[in-house]
Amino acid sequence: MNKVVDIEKIKPFFKDGMTLMIGGFLACGTPEKLIDMLLELNVKDLTIIANDTSFPDRGLGRLVVNGQVKKVIVSHIGTNPETGRLMNEGKLEVELCPQGTLIERIRAGGSGLGGVLTPTGVGTIVEEGKQKLTINGKEYLLELPLRADVALIKGSIVDEFGNTFYKGTTRNFNPIIAFAADTVIVEAEEIVKVGELRPEDAMTPGVLVDYIIKGGEGFDS
């Protein structure tokens, strides 16, 4: 059950028009080598679900700059001026979603829930087009699940079965998107043998992982 593959093996999975979830928070915990690969493949019309569009030269923001993205569902685009520019030109659809709502929608998609009720966004334009329910006198928005074709994850220490440990704040969206995609690919900073991680350290259980590729040690290294 060794899931480590050469990056060539996974390239055929990627097609124009597909929906990707990508881990990371302002490029911390983003699989940069997989982004490199997507740039090289130059697949187009992607829908990307992630926390943010990071920076023009780091993280998934590079895909925006390269014109490969049709739509993003994110909580923040302020650190990547190119996202705003393409949006204003009508070349990129941007669905802004409050961060806590976004992660719950992904979690719902990955855990078979039909939706969650959140107070976040009530009384704002976020509620447009959404069902509102009143529970015990308080209003909530019904937020619906999100899923993707492929989730791209960055793990700090990954065993050959896919059990994944995240260091520091690299965890962020990664373990949640691992539940919400049909295919899960982990870019591992360090790969270890099965048995080297404690079962308590498998923040993403290996059963969720389809492929592991060896990454670098982060963007700057």
Binding site: F25, C28, S75, G78, R107, T120, G123, T124, T169, P175
Partner: protein
């Protein structure tokens, strides 16, 4: 008016720091709110939350000691205190939305006398996205707005926000370089003014109606 921007920011940050109580869990927004951490009174131990996945956030690391795996919600390197914890984004917003964060301090584009806040979008001009702000404002037990009193001389404390809201009626306190305002059921109450201003000046720079009690204090900073 306090024309010196740096002084204005210092006044705001210092005053808000005095609101923090020992042991509280506090989330500081990016920019001006971050400065609050510099003025926490001695003997008061505050636990800082960073919505990308950490409690117990510490100060910025020394140059050359940055850990790429430990960043704050602005994507900048930070440190973690020995009592801190890392977690994923769903857990982070369970803390935030679930009422476990005692105080959130955020900047504002506009705030109004009903406690409405607008700080995430200027349609057609600036669309950074709400990030975690909508969840923070709805979820934190106490919401403090930290902002300069006016923008290019124009009032930012309004009768009614004109920009799209971040959240409805969630602000508890507004701290500017000129005054401290409390949001109450009856409207905005002027609690404190800066030593170098007057009630009349505050009124003239504020669009909102202000309730002026007898016992207004001089801002203690």
């Amino acid at each position: 008016m306090i024309p010196n921007q740096e002084l204005a920011k210092e006044i705001i940050a210092k005053r808000i720091a005095k609101e923090l109580k020992d042991g509280q869990l506090v989330n500081l927004g990016i920019g001006l709110p971050t400065l609050v951490a510099n003025y926490v009174p001695e003997g008061v131990h505050i636990i800082f939350q960073s919505e990308n996945g950490m409690v117990g956030m510490g100060p910025a690391p020394e140059k050359g000691k940055e850990d790429k795996n430990i960043t704050n919600a602005g994507g900048m390197p930070v440190t973690i205190m020995p009592f801190g914890a890392f977690f994923d984004s769903a857990t982070s917003f369970a803390l935030i939305r679930g009422g476990h964060v005692d105080i959130t301090v955020l900047g504002a584009l506009e705030v109004d006398q009903e406690g409405n806040l607008a700080n995430w979008i200027i349609p057609g001009k600036m669309v950074p996205g709400m990030g975690g702000a909508m969840d923070l404002v709805v979820g934190a037990r106490k919401v403090i707005v930290a902002m300069q009193h006016t923008s290019k001389g124009q009032p930012k404390i309004l009768k009614k926000c004109r920009l799209p809201l971040t959240a409805k009626a969630e602000v508890n306190m507004i701290v500017t370089e000129l005054c401290v305002l409390e949001v109450t059921d009856k409207g905005l109450v002027l609690r404190e003014i800066y030593k170098d201003t007057t009630i009349d000046e505050v009124k003239s720079l504020t669009e909102a109606d202000l309730i002026i009690p007898e016992d207004i204090k001089i801002m203690d900073i």
